[in-house]
């Protein structure tokens, strides 16, 4: 499958005179960065050993945080123009200030706070104020001022990306995507680091069945994957076992686009805030247990899945806190659940495989 990786996407964008923003995990208004002339490149799970980051963060920091920090400290990292840390959790909050205030990283960094009190009447105004603050920061770095027209265009492009994601996920639920789990997520994750038009082309190719590799789509049991991100090794294992992921509730994927159509506000700033506030329930905004159980139960029912895998990255406390009662709620709803926890890029594949096989046997 011929898809660009992060490095080639960065090089290509830079050749066109664009600037690069490294964006750490979380929810943020991607359209603001696009409108300000940046290519937002998300940093979720860079590969490679962790060496320098250990001098700045304890071993109980999750792999996402440690690997992201390692990337920033590496000499091999492509030149960056700014760093954005959406406020996903306490760890990334502190890593932001470590990078900016302690290490004194030369690339300017900023934080985007994701409100937790999403039921509050003033939350939309607050998000809009944060979006404007972010725009001012980015404009000061790129010299490109974010105006209403530019933001409206970038917002419309992001709406198309979200529609494409909805179509891809819908097609997958209906069994119309003929791709392995690994291939599906290679395309879906392209949106983390390419411009909307490039992602839309890749999404079209996937829908048309053109971007699949020689391996056939798995034809085994249908499952939902919930957790932080689609770990490559886990996906390979699922493909190997013939498991067909038919939906996901991943912080990096399925929780990042609205599941229903959201009417765009005419004011592009308000629309940007509304886009963020229309995202599905997530541990990162502390969605109530009952809401998550209801959302996941419906997801399992609508997708015809036989069960759900809750997979989390070690030390990810926002996910870990939810597991016991969410598992209890799902089991009470008659949904089989498998809970997996592993280090990023260091999964104990044998152990995971055995547990998955046992789960599949139960399902059959």
């Amino acid at each position: 499958m011929d898809l660009p990786n992060r490095r080639t996407a960065i090089e290509s964008f830079r050749k066109g005179g664009g600037r690069i923003a490294a964006v750490f995990p979380g929810r943020y208004p991607r359209e603001i960065l696009l409108a300000a002339g940046f290519l937002p490149v998300e940093v979720w799970d860079p590969p490679g050993p962790i060496a320098r980051a250990s001098a700045h963060a304890q071993p109980f920091v999750c792999g996402v945080g440690l690997r992201g920090l390692e990337l920033l400290l590496s000499e091999k990292t492509p030149a960056l123009d700014c760093l954005l840390f959406p406020h996903l959790c306490d760890t990334l909050q502190n890593l932001f200030t470590v990078v900016r205030d302690c290490i004194g990283h030369p690339v300017p960094a900023t934080l985007f706070y994701t409100p937790r009190n999403v039921a509050d009447a003033g939350v939309a105004s607050f998000v809009e104020s944060q979006v404007r603050r972010l725009a001012a920061f980015l404009s000061s770095r790129s010299g490109v001022s974010v105006d209403d027209d530019g933001l409206a265009k970038a917002g419309a492009a992001m709406d198309k990306v979200h529609e494409a994601m909805q179509s891809l996920y819908s097609a997958r639920r209906q069994g119309r995507i003929h791709a392995s789990n690994a291939d599906f997520y290679r395309t879906v994750r392209l949106r983390e680091y390419v411009v909307p038009s490039e992602f839309l082309q890749a999404a079209d190719r996937l829908m048309a069945g053109q971007s699949t590799s020689s391996e056939n789509a798995p034809s085994g049991p249908r499952l939902v994957l919930s957790g932080v991100l689609p770990d490559r090794d886990l996906l390979a294992l699922l493909d190997q076992l013939g498991v067909r992921l038919c939906e996901d509730d991943l912080i990096s994927c399925g929780r990042r686009f609205p599941r229903t159509h959201v009417a765009a506000d005419k004011d592009p700033w308000k629309a940007s805030a509304a886009r963020l506030l229309s995202l599905p329930p997530c541990t990162s905004i502390a969605s109530p247990v009952e809401q998550r159980v209801a959302f996941l139960s419906e997801m399992v029912r609508n997708s015809g899945a036989a069960g759900i895998i809750l997979h989390t990255v070690k030390f990810c406390e926002l996910e870990l806190f939810d597991h016991p009662f969410v598992v209890q709620g799902l089991r009470q709803a008659g949904i089989p659940v498998l809970v997996l926890e592993s280090e990023l890029h260091q999964p104990q594949l044998g152990q995971l495989g055995t547990r998955l096989e046992a789960f599949l046997e139960v399902l059959s």
Partner: protein, 450 residues
């Protein structure tokens, strides 16, 4: 609230508990008078006389809590929640974090968190949260049962963890969770953030009123606010007493004596207590009474206490003439009190509660620690890296290096936990601390040892 419940509560408050506590105090005095006199360690100064009073106040608070159910609305609150608003509506407040600390100090952390871990809560999660969730799942607290909450009030100013934790409690107890979200202040507090916080405080009142069964009274709120301010200012003076040499108390004392400003802030009992404590401390300063005899090195503690090792740490440091005279943790309840302004009550509450150390960037923390090092004449800093508290711990490696360099102080970092002894390795930690103490004596740095 039932009439019978209210009568029972007042009977307990005015009659039964005072009698019980007086009897307990008399029993303790008698025991002290009759048992063979133990020779205090040669490093120990006279203990604070107020400690007995503190014990009584906190025992009364927890005992009274048991009688509050049915008489008063009960709120479980985080340590950084704007409690003055709740007090104005007559809530009895219970602080699970304080309860967690008490369990830790009584070595009950493991037993208390076992039911939570058995239910699937990971050992990697905050141990205060595991204790509290364990309690909700049937663990027996060493200080007796806590009353079931009618509402949970959570503020994110100390961490997001409290929110994840309280939402589980909300699910478990089937009670509403009222959130005061305080966005992290990475530079200055901006107008949008302030408006968001003030809006939440305004919205919080009508949500709490039906639970309280009582209307919010602005004047009552103001009186609680003023008393909370006076109390926090006095707490600041208590801490400042340790700027004198020799220090009349230590941070290990402060870890215990902070309980009223955390758990009873805004109440008369808390204010009266610090008047007493301050009086005693001033007298000790005037007479040159030292908490630790032969004070040689003055130290700063960063992070929450290792509750289950307090006794050992007191002995180890005190017998070597090392006195902890400052802590970022205890300072948190005095640091922002000057923002309180009864003329702008909600706005000032938003500032006071959002500008606390854990809700600000590490530049702020380093500057604060620098100021503390200078004003308390600190020679060394101990960083407690606790896996229970990521916002307090992540960044300590860099702060340690920066402060050692800028302030020319010795620094050591230990890995432990607030209440979970499984995260603490006695041998390596002891070796590291002994090396730290030796370096203080020798005037060499141990920063490489961490």
């Amino acid at each position: 609230m039932s009439t019978a419940g209210i009568v029972r509560y007042h009977l307990a408050k005015e009659v039964t508990l005072p009698l019980m506590l007086a009897a307990d105090s008399a029993r303790r005095s008698l025991r002290r008078a009759t048992r063979p006199k133990r020779t205090p360690p040669d490093w120990a100064g006279p203990p604070l006389a107020c400690a007995d009073r503190l014990r009584t106040i906190m025992a009364r608070h927890y005992l009274l809590a048991r009688h509050a159910a049915g008489a008063m609305p009960i709120a479980w609150v985080t340590s950084g929640a704007p409690v003055e608003i709740l007090r104005a509506m007559g809530f009895y407040t219970v602080y699970p974090e304080n309860h967690g600390a008490l369990c830790g100090a009584r070595m009950a952390g493991l037993d208390m968190s076992a039911p939570a871990e058995n239910a699937g809560f990971s050992q990697d999660l905050c141990s205060y949260a595991r204790i509290d969730l364990g309690l909700s799942l049937g663990a027996r607290s060493p200080i007796g049962p806590l009353p079931r909450p009618d509402v949970l009030v959570c503020s994110t100013n100390i961490c997001q963890t409290v929110l994840y934790w309280y939402k589980q409690l909300s699910h478990r107890y089937g009670v509403p969770l009222v959130l005061f979200d305080t966005p992290f202040v990475a530079d200055e507090l901006d107008e949008g953030t302030l408006a968001y916080m003030v809006g939440q405080l305004e919205a919080l009142i009508p949500r709490l009123e039906p639970i309280a069964g009582k209307a919010f009274n602005a004047r009552t709120f103001e009186s609680y606010l003023l008393r909370a301010q006076r109390t926090s200012l006095m707490w600041g003076e208590v801490l400042a007493s340790m700027t004198t040499r020799p220090a009349p108390m230590t941070i290990f004392d402060a870890f215990a004596h902070m309980a009223p400003v955390v758990s009873l802030r805004g109440l008369p009992v808390s204010e009266r207590y610090y008047e007493l404590l301050l009086k005693e401390l001033r007298a000790r300063v005037a007479s040159g009474i030292a908490a630790v005899k032969g004070e040689r090195h003055r130290l700063l503690w960063d992070n929450i206490a290792v509750w289950f090792k307090l006794g050992d740490f007191i002995r180890l440091f005190s017998q070597n003439g090392c006195v902890f005279v400052a802590a970022t943790y205890t300072n948190a309840w005095a640091e922002t009190v000057h923002y309180l302004d009864p003329a702008k009550p909600l706005e000032s509450v938003a500032r006071t509660y959002s500008l606390v150390i854990l809700n600000r960037d590490l530049k702020h923390r380093m500057e604060l620690m620098e100021r503390m090092i200078r004003s308390y004449c600190v020679d060394g800093v101990l960083f407690h890296s606790t896996r229970s508290c990521k916002p307090y711990s992540v960044g300590q490696y860099d702060i340690q290096r920066a402060l050692s360099r800028k302030c020319n102080v010795k620094a050591v970092l230990i890995d432990a936990d607030t209440t979970d002894p499984r995260s603490y390795a006695e041998g390596p930690t002891r070796t590291r601390l002994e090396a730290f103490i030796e370096s203080l004596d020798a005037g060499t740095s141990t920063q490489g040892a961490a």
